[in-house]
Symmetry: C2
Subunit: 145 residues, 2 copies
DNA sequence: ATAATAGCTGAACCTGACTTCAGGTCAATA
DNA sequence: TATTGACCTGAAGTCAGGTTCAGCTATTAT
């Protein structure tokens, strides 16, 4: 059993955020001792799931829905499974976009490295889009796909 | 040369968003004909960069800074290069976190698949964390690292 | 006994990124 | 000529996800 301060330390989250999550109903099972929140392993795992679902793009109110399903019991396994499968797809798509974005950043790093060396962008403008070096061309095309 | 409506179509962005970006100074070179915005290739490339920098976690005001550097000319190549290198690192870290999150989602998909089959979580609770199947164990450990 | 420390509350406030609104311009078609 | 459609403006509104505030309580240290 942990206090809110300990959990704040463990997860690197402000205490105010933990209280906010609680108020939004993300810890439906949490116990209190004379008014003071007691975080158990259940709540720590909830927090891990919260961070995971948040990163996959879910809003707080939908995370609350998930927590409510957990309380409701075995009858909601299908919904919970479907949720994670949706979020898995979402995140896979998101990661693909991120990698495309990363290629754009790599291209721009190369671009400004050249520009810095040359002191101008004239050579570069002549190379785009058909006379770029092999790897750079890959980044460029992927980013502009 | 494109109108705001055409650009909105091309990029799938609301017109209001394009006007907002303009007001924030993200198209410092944009021309107008009797008050009406004319988007040229410069602005289209600016938009690509905006989407890219936004995805890498930059705020609008920092993107404006970059656009201002572009107007300032060759003397700001080093700043621009440094910016893209920072954002590249940021995004690489971000993608690594995303992949960890993805492993958590994969684990949860497996978990609720089992739970659905079994009708309860008793078996699962007995398996965690040391008696999980090989691949599942990888997801679990990576997610809880 | 008292004071510092960590916890509690509801309500108000904040921030970034848009979006909506009310009212106006302008060019082309009916 | 009048109406339609696409553009324009500044100002106000919205929304999610917190954060801050003022005032209160409970436990531990001196």
């Amino acid at each position: 059993m942990y206090t809110i301060g300990q959990v704040s330390e463990m997860f690197g989250l402000p205490i105010s955020t933990l209280r906010y999550y609680d108020k939004q109903g993300l810890f439906p099972e949490m116990k209190r001792v004379s008014g003071i929140r007691k975080f158990s392993e259940t709540e720590l795992e909830a927090l891990r799931v919260i961070e995971c679902l948040k990163k996959s793009g879910l809003e707080i109110k939908d995370i609350k829905q998930f927590m409510d399903w957990c309380v409701e019991g075995a009858s909601t396994y299908p919904q919970r499974k479907a949720l994670f499968e949706r979020q898995r797809e979402t995140l896979e798509t998101e990661i693909a976009h991120m990698n495309q974005t990363l290629d754009m950043l790599k291209f721009k790093c190369w671009y400004y490295e050249q520009a810095s060396k040359d002191g101008h962008e004239d050579n570069l403008r002549a190379m785009i889009p058909d006379n770029l070096p092999e790897n750079v061309s890959q980044w460029y095309e992927n980013a502009h796909r």
